[in-house]
């Protein structure tokens, strides 16, 4: 049935995309929390945070975008979990379709809906005075990194989506992911943090990704940090993809 992989995946993606478009609150909720945090940080804490010569919103936006992805993928786990609970997952598994398509449909839907949320957040940022000197290539790089990060986190989300016992369990995994940007260079420079916290902040994936996106937006050279960022994204992606597929194979055999 592998010959039907593309067609079946497209049909199933159409189905999950309808779930998103028919409950637009999932996209709004996904975008609203990061937007609220952005407002808070720019207009309330912004004056107290030393962002150097860059404007607050320019400084905060990369971290806000990662928070957006963290809250967006919670819905991916939620949708997958709902499929597992109802009989529809078993119906698909007992049909002559390309089985990996069932997961890929959720993954593609996650990429699409997160892209919409990210576009919304960036739109609000522009309204708040975000300005960038990034050219088309730099924008392409930003989009590429954001999508790669979304893809990696989506495959993490697949794991609780397949294994959770309750709806809370299916989305609880995303809280640490939403929280991670706060202990990074996203909102305050890491040099202001006490030793052990700074050591963690400097060496966790969000810092390198945030620094890279910030440099791209500012039209500055990204330096070697871009490779650290890419290595984190690809590393998370490979591990999460492998684990998710092992879990999936165990579920369907």
């Amino acid at each position: 049935m592998a010959t039907h992989f593309v067609g079946d995946t497209a049909v199933l993606t159409g189905r999950t995309m309808r779930h998103v478009t028919r409950s637009p609150d999932t996209i709004i909720t996904t975008a609203i929390m990061p937007i609220a945090i952005m407002l808070l940080f720019v207009y309330v804490f912004g004056g107290a945070i030393d962002s150097g010569s860059v404007s607050s919103v320019n400084y905060m936006l990369p971290g806000i975008l990662l928070i957006t992805i963290g809250s967006g993928i919670a819905y991916t786990a939620f949708r997958l979990f709902t499929d597992m609970q109802g009989g529809i997952f078993e119906r698909f598994q007992s049909m002559p379709i390309a089985r990996p398509g069932v997961l890929w449909a959720h993954v593609l839907t996650s990429l699409t809906s997160n892209a919409i949320s990210l576009a919304l957040v960036i739109g609000v940022a522009f309204a708040m005075g975000f300005r960038t000197g990034a050219g088309p290539l730099a924008w392409l790089a930003v989009v590429g990194i954001l999508l790669l990060f979304t893809l990696a986190l989506t495959w993490i989300a697949v794991i609780p989506g397949l294994t959770a016992k309750s709806i809370d369990g299916a989305s609880a995994f995303s809280y640490p992911l939403i929280f991670l940007p706060f202990i990074s260079s996203a909102f305050v420079p890491t040099r202001t943090m006490p030793g052990p916290v700074r050591a963690f902040a400097d060496n966790q994936p969000v810092t390198s990704i945030v620094d890279t996106i910030r440099a791209l937006f500012a039209g500055q050279p990204v330096g070697s940090g871009v490779w650290t960022a890419l290595a984190w994204c690809v590393g998370i992606l490979v591990v999460a993809y492998a684990v998710a597929n092992v879990v999936y194979r165990r579920k369907i055999s």
């Binding site: 049935m1 039907h4 067609g7 079946d8 049909v11 199933l12 189905r15 309808r18 779930h19 028919r22 409950s23 109802g86 009989g87 529809i88 078993e90 119906r91 698909f92 598994q93 007992s94 049909m95 002559p96 379709i97 369907i252 055999s253």
Partner: protein, 284 residues
């Protein structure tokens, strides 16, 4: 019918099960299950909760691997040729497997597309008509009653006209009217030549629908035969005169308005009869 695309495999029984065993950790659920289901018949697997009925269905529909034994569905070994088995079957699980966010029609179109049929829209409309769901077809499945949801579920199982259909406790949790709607759907299925294996814990359901009944108890089939065979196991009937009280079901239907076959949009009636005439399947 436009949705005929089944891969009809050789002759012989539609389902053959030999020495099927399955354990979950320490619990030995199936301890050597044997049975056969003839093509075009309705076979009821009867048993109390936890008897292993669902396990049998999950193994036959390639969702679960058996520990021992062989099972052929439509002539294909479930372990060796799962893809061919999936081409031959349709599963209606214990919980209605419909997508609640999609409309009834979209659910049908979805399955028709996944079965790679050429005119998914036409297939959907035909099934909506056949299951008296035409008017409800544009509404989200979440708004359906239990009986309508089950009918949609069964309609989704018919797409592609698979020769073998598994119905796992199709009427559990339904009210009496909805139950009878489902029974009619099952009868019309068998009338069109489909083999149906249904599991149930309701004795009257097996009595109403099945050509053969097998009782699964403590991991084995302890009885397998026609209703007449099963009755013959008991001491011969004796004639007694008993005042005929209306059953609660008679009362229920008398009070709620008579016709037990009533559905939401069309009257399919003829519930009291157990005959399987093809006309019941196409009547609007």
């Amino acid at each position: 019918m436009s949705y005929l695309s089944a891969t009809d495999q050789a002759q012989g029984p539609a389902i053959q099960v030999r020495g099927l065993e399955k354990s979950y950790k320490e619990v030995h659920v199936l301890r050597g299950v044997d049975f056969e289901v003839a093509r075009g018949s309705i076979f009821a697997l009867l048993g109390s909760n936890g008897a292993g009925k669902t396990t049998v269905v999950r193994i036959l529909s390639t969702l679960l691997a058996a520990d021992a034994g062989t099972s052929l569905v439509n002539g294909f070994d479930v372990a060796a040729r799962p893809a061919d088995v999936r081409e031959s079957i349709s599963l209606t699980g214990q919980f209605a497997a419909v997508d609640e966010i999609l409309t009834g029609r979209e659910n049908l179109v979805l399955v028709a597309r996944l079965r790679h049929l050429r005119q998914p829209g036409a297939v959907a409309d035909e099934l909506l008509r056949r299951f008296s769901l035409t008017e409800a077809g544009g509404r989200r499945a979440a708004t359906y009653s239990g009986g309508m949801r089950r009918r949609l579920d069964i309609a989704m199982s018919l797409i592609g006209n698979p020769p073998v259909i598994f119905l796992d406790e199709p009427t559990t949790g339904l009210d009496p009217e909805a139950r009878i709607e489902v029974w009619q759907a099952v009868r019309s299925l068998a009338a069109s030549g489909t083999t149906v294996l249904l599991t149930t814990q309701y004795l009257d359901e097996a009595e109403q629908l099945a050509d053969r009944i097998a009782i699964l108890h403590q991991g084995r089939i302890i009885v397998n035969g026609t209703l007449a065979d099963l009755r013959a196991l008991l001491p011969p009937a004796k004639v007694e005169y008993v005042e005929k009280q209306p059953s609660l079901e008679d009362v229920f239907f008398a009070v709620v308005g008579g016709d037990p076959g009533r559905s939401d949009t069309a009257d399919t009636s003829s519930t009291s009869s157990t005959s399987r005439t093809p006309s019941t399947s196409s009547k609007e």
